[in-house]
Symmetry: C2
Subunit: 312 residues, 2 copies
């Protein structure tokens, strides 16, 4: 028997639904729906909502309305809420800046094969491409968040060395990223491998500047978040309704659902400032828009209980 | 940062699919399918398979073929595999014994309201009803496993006091149960509340005689198993394909899926003796029999990856 380590008193959740959640949807979602999704997430208490991506519409047609969506979201921005957008290169950054972005995100992979197959360059080359973005962002007073993908495993290489993750994370921090989000892109991590990865990363980057971005492909995300909390990580990325499948296994789940994370944190007595019931309403609403059931266990259980209320 | 406590080197999984998994299925499943399910589970490496329940077919029609199923399973029993059956009273025990049972299970709730609403008697009265069962079992050389339900929460009372769980668990042990399975019947537990419950129980019952039986209603089961492993629990109940919904919230998930548990344990380097690929095949097969998709994330991800193999 052991005494559990103290957990953070509060956690910040960075909502991925409008961007990571929707980007692989085949059917185009209207800008109206995307803006409405952001508005409903704000109302549920989310304070950081990744809103869109400034990538080529040739590669990601779903994000083709990025300037319109960001512009409309920012036109009625809620004070205290951040609306980061993904900007993989200088062209994307300039478009985001023109649309009013105050925060952007860049990403690097911890796996050479993943980097080469996905963005056709080495890890080192990809990081060098971000340098002009981070420099331009600093000049413009725009905050930059950094993602590291494949922190636990890679679809091409299998397990990824914790040291490789630490190296990319440290480089992104040195370039000026205020926070490094560690992405288990294919969801292959477990509480032990995530803890080993975090130990290596924390030798280079303080826990206070780290976020966990765990996919629930194999149902491990909640356990991985709990393990990360025990190591002092206090920021987690999540996607309402579990939006966003796994691009490497169609039919499998993607981002951990925001409501599953909030349920865990409520149970652990860790504050989030998010209203779980309102969040489940958002999950039900966006899932209905996409004509499917919410992927999250919490949304399904809460909605089923509501449907039965009165018959107990 | 903390060093993780040592985990057990190996875990025993008690498969619940044929009993807890199927008992709430509305459409009757044939005895042939039930026996075939047990055979496929044995072939995947399961060493303990709860096979059926000796309860009144008036209350649980799905288990009406209990004697036939157990008889056929035992007629070709695999050496080293246990086939426990649920026997809530002496009448059920005698029928199970007549059908050849070598192991039975009894259950008590840790919540007074749950006990009264479900079996129409107090906790103390329900435990007294099991005394003749455990005495008859001892006389017949039959092993008895004890379940405690509602160890983290109750649908009527909310949170359940760890001390109440410890009391029921200790009573079942004193009656002669060789193992006490702690059931989070409504899945409302989280790693912190499960740890508090286990701490209280372990003051009365040694960890080596405890099992975790966690439902995944709110997606917490894998995290709860990880927390329990860290406290020395080395036996877990699970249901292939996540069979078995939550009777208190139709549409919500029930038992944690066996393949999710095996995936976690494989990742943690904890032995189970179970072949994960073969287990996913069983999940796919029984789900097809029931005309649905497997509920488990691991089964869905593995099956999706298999379907894509060749297109990478």
């Amino acid at each position: 028997m052991t005494t559990s380590p103290a957990l953070p008193a509060a956690v910040r959740i960075v909502e991925m639904g409008p961007r990571d959640g929707l980007q692989n949807e085949k059917r185009l979602v209207s800008a109206d729906t995307k803006v409405e999704l952001v508005r409903r997430l704000e109302a549920a208490g989310l304070k950081a909502i990744e809103t869109t991506a400034f990538v080529s519409p040739k590669w990601v047609p779903q994000m083709g309305d990025n300037a319109e969506v960001l512009g409309r979201v920012l036109a009625a921005a809620v004070p205290g809420v951040a609306y980061p957008v993904l900007t993989p290169n200088l062209k994307g950054f300039e478009a985001a800046l023109a649309a009013g972005a105050k925060e952007v995100a860049v990403f690097g992979a911890a796996s050479e094969s993943f980097s080469r197959k996905n963005i056709n360059c080495s890890i080192a080359e990809s990081l060098e491409r971000f340098r002009p973005v981070t420099e331009a962002a600093r000049a413009a007073g725009v905050r930059v968040r950094g993602y590291v993908s494949c922190v636990a495993g890679c679809p091409y290489e299998g397990a990824v060395a914790p040291q490789a993750v630490a190296e990319v994370a440290a480089t992104l921090m040195d370039m000026g990223c205020y926070e490094i989000s560690l992405g288990d892109t294919i969801g292959s991590g477990n509480p032990a491998s995530i803890a080993r990865m975090l130990e290596a990363v924390m030798r280079r980057v303080p826990a206070a500047r780290l976020a966990g971005h765990y996919h629930d492909t194999y149902g491990m995300a909640v356990a991985n978040i709990h393990a990360s909390l025990q190591m002092g990580v206090a920021v987690f990325d999540a996607s309402v309704g579990g939006l966003g499948g796994c691009p490497y296994a169609a039919g499998a789940s993607g981002n951990v659902a925001t409501e599953d994370v909030v349920w865990l944190l409520n149970g652990l007595g860790v504050g989030t400032g998010i209203d779980l019931d309102a969040l489940v309403d958002v999950a039900a609403w966006i899932s209905a828009q996409l004509e499917r059931e919410p992927a999250s266990r919490v949304a399904r259980a809460v909605l089923a209980k509501r449907a039965q209320a009165g018959c107990a």
